[in-house]
Symmetry: D2
Subunit: 143 residues, 4 copies
């Protein structure tokens, strides 16, 4: 399987993405997009998209970006991330754009920008930096 197919297969296994109504966008080598439509089902108390939902797609955009550069059969686990929220997420669509900053043998540093899109205008709502770990030969953790 090429990396794009591995990512689509892995994405499809994530119940969390279905629950959030998230879909995989553009997939390229070292960069992955994920989209999500705001709704009351993923909102916090003021009606904005919950930081947990934003995190879910940003984390995946980072993780799949890292996975796109790993050999087949290697799994990826998040070891840590930081999310800075710079504006309330209210829009027609939320897009997380992840990319690999530095791919390493054991750890990869990734970054994701999250945008709120309304009437075709994009506005930055959050920025994530994340460390992803390559997992080889551990049962149940691959692709």
């Amino acid at each position: 399987m090429d990396y794009a197919e591995r990512i689509r297969t892995s994405f499809a296994k994530q119940g969390m993405m279905t629950t959030l109504g998230a879909t995989l966008g553009k997939v390229s080598s070292g960069a992955v997009e994920i989209e999500m439509r705001p709704s009351p089902a993923i909102a916090q108390q003021h009606g904005f998209v919950h930081a947990g939902a934003i995190t879910a797609i940003a984390d995946n955009a980072c993780g799949f970006s890292a996975l796109s550069l790993m050999p087949e059969g290697t799994g990826v686990l998040t070891t840590e991330f930081k999310l800075n929220l710079v504006a309330p997420a209210a829009a027609d669509l939320i897009v997380a754009r992840g990319r690999v900053v530095k791919a390493g043998r054991t750890l990869s540093l990734c970054q994701a920008e999250v945008f709120a899109v309304s009437d075709g205008q994009e506005k930055l709502v959050a920025l994530m930096t994340a460390t992803m770990m390559n997992i080889v030969g551990r049962d149940g953790i691959s692709d």
Copy 2:
């Protein structure tokens, strides 16, 4: 309304908590617990609880801890958090325990430990540090 009632009202408004099946646990001054039952609907590709779901309850545990120390009518928004994941989250129950480390006039530093509970045994799976901002007099953002 006292702080516990404000927190319960605010929690009930969060569609994201209903979507995740999360419930409010112990609420005290400066400390709040949130629980969630693992299921395929909130899983990532290997079957563990998705980091986005863990973040959602840890962020809320932090935010409500901060809110418990704020005057009525003050809103709370997350400005940033970091989550370190130290073990895959697989268990009967996931519990996030938030507390305020330092309450400030504008910003409060909070921390949440997230545990996987199986057969009554608790295991640390994640640690969050988060900055919460007091919001006063902004439309639509209170409690």
Copy 3:
């Protein structure tokens, strides 16, 4: 005073920069560079530049980037940062390049990339994301 002069004045007041042998590089609106020459005096146990020294110039590059966009008389304080270290810092010169990602009324999100430069080749060694706070009307905290 224009922003460049305010930044040069503020930089000159920092004993820490003198102690590290750091110098101010290019200063523009929303972006500031700081340079430092590796030496045993700022090394850790394996001879690489200490993460504390890298942090000092990255934090300043972020803080002065934020300050460049603030009105005269406003002070800046760091509320938090995260630093990811992606390679050991060993080189002829270390350069931190800060820029403002989002300037807000109270908080600004900044980012700094830190490079090791050897024989004119740049290599990324660290990435910082930082939150800077505008301080107005607090004694002793301006510019």
Copy 4:
């Protein structure tokens, strides 16, 4: 060598600690303290201790805490940390208290609280969470 001796030897090799005037405090299994006396040489523009100096001792307190639990000959490198600053650091003495939250095979999660001590009273000024990596068999990186 036992862990305390390995830590003392490693600390003594760090030019950065000498430059900052930092000294090693209490060393125990999984927990290490480092102290530093504020002075203009480590100050930022308002006269407070620079975040880079605070980071240097907090990072070391975390790294040596992790090292205390590793077998002899294993080196430790910081992969990332986040520092939240909750009060300006002005005092007679600054103390960083690090401890291991979770020791892993490859990565260890550590935390350090940094206190300003004046007239025997301690005040929290900063909180760090850090990820340390075990390094085995890489030239020049041990203890």
